[in-house]
């Protein structure tokens, strides 16, 4: 099997979440200058969990998941990913980054490389996979996201939805154990949103550990086993999707949900 990333193919409702801890965040704080962006974040994510993070703009959602692969540095507390604590040790950082895939709002594909090169670059240079094998893996994942025919085009020649699916495939080529998504659909037109969400749902069904910042509440209902609500740098509430949407506990959550679902 080439894809260790996809372990099970059960339906989402019957998806098992293992007891093994994938990410552990303990009392994490972060400041931008004097601005306290993240306050006492505590979060444990088990392997196979699919977590959706919601919250108003500026609440620190992006900052939090970017701390998990050290695109942002935290100032106090602990972040342990896959048993490795994130410190300023560059070796650890590069190791964790190669285990944690990330998709961005603006895709961040490399415009000077073809789709295939985008997908094979990191496996070849970071994992030291032979070129031939890297290409096979890349084609496998490009098929999975349903764009193998675009392999030799450049990112600039693809639609937004296609680019985001390439970005997902690019991350998967590193065979990550955890995937982070930061508003992967918010730069896309409605019809493209669906194709990207379908890819993400497929990924969730195959058992990937996922942390997803998104405002797609339908997606949250369908695949998440936990929704986290953040406001002003704090985790205000977390619950199973049904409970979260039907019986929000805090006032702040109710207000947010009424704004986002109200119309």
């Amino acid at each position: 099997m080439t894809d260790t990333a996809f372990q099970t193919t059960a339906a989402p409702s019957s998806l098992k979440v293992s007891d093994e801890v994938a990410i552990e965040i303990v009392n994490m704080n972060k400041w931008y200058g004097n601005f306290h962006v993240l306050r006492d974040i505590n979060l444990t994510v088990n392997r196979g969990e699919r977590i959706v993070i919601a919250g108003p703009s500026g609440s620190g959602k992006s900052t939090m998941i970017r701390c998990i692969n050290r695109l942002e540095e935290h100032q106090s507390g602990k972040i342990i990913v896959d048993g490795t604590e994130l410190t300023s040790d560059l070796k650890n950082i590069d190791k964790i980054r190669s285990e944690v895939g990330m998709c961005f709002q603006h895709f961040n594909l490399f415009p000077h490389l073809t789709i295939l090169e985008n997908c094979t670059l990191a496996p070849i240079w970071v994992r030291k996979v032979p070129r031939k094998e890297a290409i096979d893996t890349a084609m496998h994942f490009l098929e999975k996201v349903k764009i193998p025919d675009q392999a030799n085009k450049y990112p600039g020649q693809l639609s937004g939805g296609q680019q985001q699916r390439v970005a997902i495939a690019r991350s998967l080529c590193m065979k990550p154990r955890i995937m982070l998504f930061d508003e992967p659909t918010s730069a896309l037109d409605p019809e493209m949103i669906k194709e990207v969400l379908d890819t993400m749902i497929q990924l969730a069904e195959e058992g990937m550990t996922m942390l997803c910042v998104t405002h797609e509440m339908g997606f949250a209902r369908q695949v998440a086993n936990r929704v986290i609500f953040m406001d002003q740098g704090q985790i205000v509430e977390q619950n199973e999707p049904e409970e979260f949407f039907n019986n929000p506990r805090s006032e702040r959550t109710k207000l947010f949900l009424s704004q986002i679902l109200g119309h």
Binding site: R97, P111, H112, V126, Y154
Partner: protein, 437 residues
């Protein structure tokens, strides 16, 4: 006649004519001229005036150019030939016929002209696989790698063992690096390798080369730096400064962005200092002051000193051009590279630099062109670049007073080089275009 409308209407067309080309007055040369040159009275007036001006200019210049003075041996002879031909004014081409070799090679011994010529041809072969990687086999990169060692040997001559030992220094450095790279940090391994290589060059390579030379004396006649001149000198300095300034400039640009304050401020200080000082000052330092700082007895070649100064000067500008390219890259590119686990140097080499350099191509090539043309400044430290030579030629009684012909000749050759660089940059930009972002 029946009551058809043939009576009431004068003419009814029964067969349709085929479609015709638009009248020539709206297409082709006439149409174009009407649209672009004579649309409205103001444009027409401007067109006529500009046309008369161009015609006047051509009528004035062409006779000056077409002047039967090719065989003249002095300015006076030129004047006689021009009057004999019935003109009042004409170019004196005799100076070019007599001195073109000097303008190309300076005072290089004529029987050795083949050496700079071979070096130039080798230069073309060496840059071909770099400039035209699509058409030229990568195998030619061997020539590219050998060029920095072979070129000085061809130009200055001496024993073949000197360039061989110089190249060996890189091999030794590489082997040391390989030996250490597993055991110590990458940066430290590189540092040790550099130290070993420098020690080899400074302390041992001369002795070893001498020893080899006494066993197997393969050597070219030595030529002193003072004999260098003309375009050969310009190209030597220009190529070396261009070749070295790009990598140094890239490192300076990266250093300027570094998180390490010491590295950052050293780079900023260097760049700002060099950019704040005129090149002429640096050249004077190279020609006079530098000797004061060097240990007595070391004879550091003047051309090498000038190359170093030119390189430093160009690197500072290059660093700023590259920094512009780096600044134009969206932050997402760094994050994309980071999130895949590429380390700093991998990210720079594979993701950041290819894009930043592509954005900076126009600026980089402008700097290259500037460097090449600025090589003429060495005439003020009494080296004989083409401009310096033109002064020297005028110092001769026979050609005292010849300006235009020399400058036109020199200018034309510079133009060929600079224009080629400019066209190449446009070609490269087009080639690297990979669709809109």
């Amino acid at each position: 006649m029946s009551d058809t409308h043939a009576e009431t209407v004068l003419f009814v067309r029964e067969t349709m004519l085929p479609q015709q080309e638009p009248p020539s007055s709206s297409t082709g040369a006439i149409g174009w001229a009407r649209q672009n040159l004579f649309s409205g009275w103001l444009n027409s007036v401007i067109t006529v005036v500009a046309g008369l001006f161009i015609i006047g200019l051509v009528l004035h210049i062409v006779p000056w150019f077409v002047s039967p003075t090719w065989m003249a041996t002095s300015l006076n002879e030129c004047r006689d030939m021009v009057t004999a031909a019935g003109h009042t004014d004409g170019a004196c081409w005799g100076v070019i016929r007599e001195r073109w070799q000097q303008l190309l090679f300076g005072f290089y011994p004529p029987e050795l002209y083949w050496r700079p010529v071979v070096a130039l041809l080798m230069l073309f072969v060496a840059i071909a696989p770099v400039l035209f990687s699509d058409f030229v086999s990568r195998k030619l990169l061997v020539v590219t790698a050998a060029f920095p060692f072979v070129m000085p040997w061809l130009l200055w001559g001496g024993t073949v063992w000197t360039p061989v030992m110089a190249a060996l220094g890189f091999v030794i450095g590489y082997l040391v690096f390989r030996g250490f790279s597993g055991r110590v940090a990458g940066g430290l391994a590189l540092f040790i390798a550099a130290i070993v290589a420098v020690l080899w060059w400074v302390l041992l390579s001369g002795l070893v080369a001498g020893a080899f030379a006494s066993v197997l004396p393969l050597a070219l006649t030595e030529v002193q730096s003072r004999a260098f001149g003309g375009f050969m000198l310009s190209i030597t300095i220009g190529v070396a400064a261009i070749g070295c300034s790009l990598p140094i400039g890239i490192l300076l640009a990266l250093g300027r962005q570094s998180d390490l304050p010491l590295v950052k401020y050293m780079c900023v200080g260097f760049i700002e200092f060099i950019r704040g000082v005129p090149l002429i000052t640096l050249l004077f330092v190279a020609s006079t002051l530098l000797n004061i700082f060097l240990p007595p007895g070391t004879n550091f070649d003047i051309i090498v000193r000038v190359i170093i100064m030119d390189t430093l000067f160009a690197s500072a500008y290059m660093a700023e051009v590259v920094r512009g390219g780096l600044a134009a890259l969206p932050k997402g590119q760094y994050e994309g590279a980071d999130s895949l686990g590429l380390n700093y140097w991998q990210a720079q080499r594979l993701i950041i630099m290819p894009q930043a350099l592509k954005i900076s191509i126009p600026g980089i090539v402008s700097t290259f062109i500037g460097v090449f043309k600025d090589t003429t400044l060495v005439s003020i430290i009494s080296m004989f670049d083409p401009i310096g030579l033109s002064n020297a030629i005028r110092a001769n009684q026979a050609w005292n007073g010849v300006y235009w012909e020399l400058f036109i000749f020199i200018g034309a050759i510079f133009f060929v080089f600079c224009f080629s660089m400019s066209r190449y940059s446009m070609y490269l930009e087009k080639k690297l275009q990979t669709g809109h972002r």
